[in-house]
């Protein structure tokens, strides 16, 4: 971890501390204060947007572990989310399983399904692995649409999340639930990548042959990455189902799987901050277009129908291309550069 000038680690505990300096701790406290008091400042709509962003962050954090750290490209992440959504919906609605247990089961089942689709990763990589994960998306969604247990194409009504008898129904209650799980998910992800497992992931990503020569069991670690990445997707899917009060295959389109990859590119592959920034940027861009389009439509009535609201995908694509060309390390890298510049200011090189 890069530290400000003058800060040194004198013990192991200092070395592993995530928030090391007083400034970092202060900023963290401010951030937590802002997040905890958000319902006071935000209306129901913005809380709903924040919930969607939080769920996206969880899912994209999982994808980042799989793709950003371990180098296994997955374009079926929305499909794995649907496994979590349906698992949680079925367990809570049909079998009366408590929400928190169902949430964990959703993660584990999505992780297990992810491992199955991750098996080809030992033999194929890059473009070919991407194709096999696309197949996962379509197979999972097909099953969801045709299985009576999942409600077929109609999907399922989902009970509100309930913790110790307290039903989570309002946007504020949902916000705190999503916030808590998002924070835990980010914290766990941050720590996973600092463990032996995380370093093995990075070794596999950087050069799998060299990693194998060093004694890393590729099959085991690649499957572990698929499990962890899809576990996160399952948790995100479960939350989406319980805050929407319904789930169906329509919630998990293929386009979302592509968008998730775009988010980690824009945010920064292989960083903990990347998925957060990527999800924020793309979701807020979408909100901006949705909010502005009625006004733009009225201001420019001669534009083709749907043009103003339809520019969102164009902007997403443009953003991904620009980042790939000019900042392939994403917004997280920009943030690191900004911090470095700030620390040296006004005596930069």
């Amino acid at each position: 971890m890069d530290l400000p000038a003058g800060t040194r680690n004198y013990s192991y505990s200092e070395d592993v501390t995530i928030f090391r300096t007083g400034t970092q701790k202060f900023l963290l406290a401010v951030l937590i204060l802002v997040l905890l008091t958000a319902p006071i400042w935000f209306g129901g709509y913005w809380l709903t947007v924040a919930n969607l962003i939080g769920i996206t962050i969880i899912s994209v954090t999982g994808l980042n572990i799989l793709t950003g750290y371990c180098g296994q490209l997955s374009i079926g992440h929305a499909g794995f989310m649907s496994v979590g959504a349906y698992t949680s919906a079925i367990l809570t609605s049909r079998f009366g399983v408590p929400f928190l247990a169902a949430l964990l089961c959703a993660g584990f089942l999505a992780g297990a399904v992810g491992m199955i689709f991750g098996i080809p990763s030992l033999r194929v990589k890059g473009f070919y692995l991407a194709i096999s994960t696309i197949a996962a998306q379509f197979i999972i969604i097909w099953v969801a649409k045709h299985w009576t247990l999942t409600g077929g194409a109609a999907g399922m009504e989902v009970m509100p999340a309930s913790i110790l008898g307290f039903e989570i129904k309002t946007p504020t209650e949902k916000y705190y639930l999503v916030l808590a799980i998002t924070i835990i998910a980010i914290f766990v992800a941050k720590n996973i990548v600092r463990t032996r497992v995380g370093r093995a992931f990075v070794a596999i990503r950087d050069n799998d042959l060299a990693a194998e020569v060093m004694g890393i069991n590729l099959f085991r670690y690649k499957l572990t990455a698929f499990f962890i990445g899809c576990f996160y997707a399952g948790i995100a899917g479960s939350l989406l189902a319980h805050i929407s009060f319904s789930t169906s295959a329509d919630y998990f389109p293929f386009l979302d799987s592509v968008l998730f990859v775009g988010m980690i590119i824009i945010g920064g592959l292989g960083t903990t901050l990347g998925p957060i920034l990527g999800a924020l940027a793309i979701r807020l861009l979408d909100v901006l277009v949705t909010k502005l389009s009625p006004t733009l439509q009225s201001a420019f009535p001669n534009l083709p129908p749907g043009f103003t609201s339809g520019i969102a995908p164009l902007l997403f694509g443009l953003a991904i291309i620009l980042f790939l060309l000019f900042e392939p390390r994403g917004l997280a890298h920009r943030w690191t550069i900004f911090k470095s510049a700030y620390r040296l200011w006004p005596f930069s090189y």
Binding site: G44, A154, S248, P294
Partner: protein, 421 residues
């Protein structure tokens, strides 16, 4: 250095976008003065996979609002103000849009499609926020909670087509063999629900049920499977674009002309003829809840005047007419509600206003005639959230959609799988 010069403006732009989003949201569009407006939320899938339905639907809303507010004096003298959003047929986004409507003080909301409503109804039903879906499916209305249909549902579509087929086309002995080609999702599911509930009763044998995706480009394989079952009639339930693909493929396979083909209401509009070609759809039967554009009814002159003035490309489009009618119905609902509880109670929005709209507006509907633009009248019957229960069978003749029958009432079908008793 060059790279840095480009990256910096891009980053600044992104940061600005993120920064101003909450501010724009807080503005909430044009604010009307207190005492002037009744706010409702409406969404259409104007982009995404079904713009051929969403765009005419959006235009129907815009034009009908002009008509209602400028010529009919709004609802009980109050301007109807619409918060319109493009859902892009993105179900996660629909959830945020509904919350936006709730938060903006809207007292009623509509979706264009049943899929949008499926994604919205969880939050709406939990909050008691009343909603209407212009095109509605069985799972939206069963069990009857806070979601209403200005029209019959897709299950009723199937029943109406099947009854017409049995009464007027089937001349053989025994049970006719029927195949279904259904759009995956609430549209196809609704039709399948109707078929499964009523097929035995009507004496029809379902020999094959195939599904298609909304963005399908070829259904040769599924149609070949259907062809091997040798059905007497094929019912397609989907949106115009995939239905056009199916019809073109059926023609390629020599299934049409020859086999009777019928379409449920989601696809049976001018867009289908435009996309598939008049020669392909010639003779295809369909069912719909509005009059045709050639009908001489009281409200047609105004609808025609507005469509020709503002959106001439939509002339002849049934999606346009459907949302036009939905706006007329909303005016009637809001008029009832204002008369019953007064404007002040509604203007604040929130749970009390929603309750008033539902109980004093929607549930007090009785005999509203849609200016003659729909077959039946909008009347609320307890336990049945379909407000209009009438359908009519049409056929494409000479490249135009022509009415074949008078209006048929669609009896309420019970669906135990959705909680009906």
């Amino acid at each position: 250095m060059k790279t840095r010069r480009i990256i910096l403006p891009v980053l600044i732009l992104m940061v600005l976008i993120m920064a101003i989003s909450p501010l724009l949201g807080a503005c909430g569009g044009t604010k009307a003065k207190a005492g002037e407006v009744l706010k409702i939320g409406m969404m259409t899938p104007s982009t995404g996979p079904v713009p051929e339905k969403g765009v005419p639907g959006q235009h129907g809303i815009q034009d009908a609002l002009l008509y209602v507010n400028n010529e009919l004096g709004g609802a009980a003298g109050h301007t109807i103000q619409v918060d319109w959003r493009d859902s892009a047929y993105d179900m996660a986004k629909v959830g945020t849009i509904v919350q936006d409507f709730i938060n903006s003080g809207d007292i009623l909301f509509t979706t264009h499609s049943s899929s949008e409503m499926k994604a919205a109804q969880g939050v709406a039903n939990q909050n008691g926020f009343p909603g209407l879906a212009t095109f509605i499916s069985t799972m939206n209305l069963h069990p009857a909670l806070h979601i209403y249909g200005p029209t019959p549902d897709y299950g009723d579509d199937w029943a109406a087509l099947a009854k017409y087929y049995m009464a007027n086309i089937w001349k053989g002995t025994g049970k006719p063999k029927m195949a279904l080609h259904l759009l995956s999702g609430s549209v196809g599911q609704g039709t399948q629900d109707g078929a499964k509930a009523m097929a035995d009763q009507l004496g029809i044998e379902l020999v094959d049920i195939e599904n298609h995706a909304i963005s399908t480009t070829s259904e040769i394989e599924s149609l070949t499977r259907i062809k091997t079952k040798n059905p007497d009639v094929l019912i397609i339930s989907g949106t115009p674009a995939p239905t056009a693909v199916i019809l073109k493929n059926a023609k390629q396979l020599g299934m049409i002309p020859g086999m009777t083909v019928m379409c449920a209401s989601a696809s049976f509009t001018k867009a289908l003829i435009d996309l598939a070609g008049a020669d392909v759809v010639e003779g295809v039967y369909g069912v719909f809840h509005t009059v045709s554009w050639d009908d001489n009814v009281a409200g047609m002159a105004k609808a025609t005047e507005y469509v020709k003035k503002y959106h001439p490309a939509d002339y002849g489009n049934m999606d346009y007419l459907s949302t036009w009618n939905t706006v007329l119905l909303i005016r009637e609902i809001l008029t009832n509600a204002v008369k019953a509880v007064g404007y002040e109670a509604l203007s604040k929005g929130g749970a009390e206003a929603w309750k008033a709209v539902e109980e004093q507006g929607i549930q007090k509907l009785k005999g509203y005639k849609f200016e003659g633009l729909q077959g039946g009248t909008a009347t609320y019957t307890p336990g049945d959230n379909r407000l209009d229960k009438f359908l009519r069978i049409y056929q494409v003749k000479g490249g135009k959609i022509v009415a074949l029958t008078d209006w048929q009432e669609a009896p309420l079908i019970k669906y135990p799988q959705y909680g009906d008793k």
